[in-house]
């Protein structure tokens, strides 16, 4: 069973990570998941879970996952935007948990956006 002690261990670990982040001055990468009725119904929650799990697994620093409302392209949900400082926003559409793992690996970690998953490829 999950215990308070485990939570305390997470706290200590996270505090160490936070101080490393401050030292290196890593800029923040933001992953934004559409979580309006349309996004949720299309499967945004497992996508968001997959991002959180993959970031935890790789212990990535300076990457945050947040949510947004409906951006008016409901037919392409679940939609995920990746915002990196100094780079153009990348909008991924019809996301799945599997695609989310690939986005973390290829795009966030290795710096190669996956063109096939983007809104540009979907609307061609």
């Amino acid at each position: 069973m999950k215990t308070i002690e485990e939570l305390m261990a997470i706290r200590e670990n996270a505090k160490k990570k936070m101080s490393v982040r401050e030292d290196t001055g890593d800029e923040n990468v933001r992953i934004v998941v559409g979580m309006a009725t349309c996004g949720i119904a299309a499967g945004a929650r497992p996508v968001l879970n997959a991002f959180v799990d993959e970031i935890a697994k790789r212990e990535l620093k300076g990457v945050t996952v947040s949510q947004t409302g409906c951006i008016g392209m409901c037919q392409y949900e679940p939609i995920v935007e990746v915002l990196e400082p100094g780079k153009e926003k990348v909008t991924y559409v019809k996301m799945t948990a599997e695609k989310a793992v690939k986005v973390v690996n290829d795009h966030i970690v290795n710096g190669n956006p996956i063109v096939d998953f983007t809104v540009g490829a979907a609307t061609k």
Partner: protein
């Protein structure tokens, strides 16, 4: 929506939009009466009587206020199709209470689904709010309270991935224990 926990995720977003500081989510099951009651209670800005009427009408709201839209009508339908009931009450400046009662022995009953993901998502995406999640089965219960977790974390954000995973596992394990499943 394929599971009720997705409706909860959706409805609770309205509480966030309403500026609620504390959002209480309760899932109460009574196996004798074959009922499952889901409540979402907030201390947000509340609604006027006209707004309250309009949220129940999907065709009125989707065309005028995008903020509310289909969420409430879908949740209401999910409850009523089981022979259950749905109530929403609200007072400007006080908050909004949404409660849906489901008949669990109905063929049209949608499973509760992954409440752990719903609650962990809501908490991690809205770390400036307090959440109180309570699951009750025939009088036995467990609670997840962000105020308590926040105190233990001492400055580490509730959105920290390891914390989100801990909250998900905490809810899953306690739910299994409540329902007599395997747990340590």
């Amino acid at each position: 929506m394929r599971e009720l926990s997705l409706n909860v995720l959706d409805i609770a977003q309205n509480s966030i939009t309403a500026g609620a500081a504390l959002i209480r989510i309760e899932v109460l099951e009574n196996t004798v009466a074959h009922t499952l009651t889901i409540g979402i209670y907030d201390d947000g800005c509340g609604m006027t009587e006209e707004q309250l009427e309009s949220v129940l009408d999907p065709f009125f709201t989707t065309r005028t206020t995008r903020k509310v839209g289909m969420g409430i009508p879908l949740f209401k339908m999910a409850a009523e199709q089981t022979g259950g009931s749905f109530t929403i009450s609200s007072k400007v400046g006080i908050g909004t209470n949404v409660q849906a009662v489901f008949k669990t022995d109905s063929v049209d009953f949608t499973p509760v689904g992954d409440m752990a993901s719903t609650v962990a998502t809501l908490i991690s995406m809205n770390t400036d709010r307090e959440f109180l999640y309570r699951r009750v089965l025939d009088g036995k219960d467990f609670v997840l309270d962000t105020a308590e977790i926040r105190e233990i974390l001492g400055g580490v954000p509730l959105s920290e991935p390891a914390v989100v995973q801990w909250m998900r596992a905490f809810i899953n394990e306690n739910t299994e224990a409540l329902y007599g499943g395997v747990s340590q």
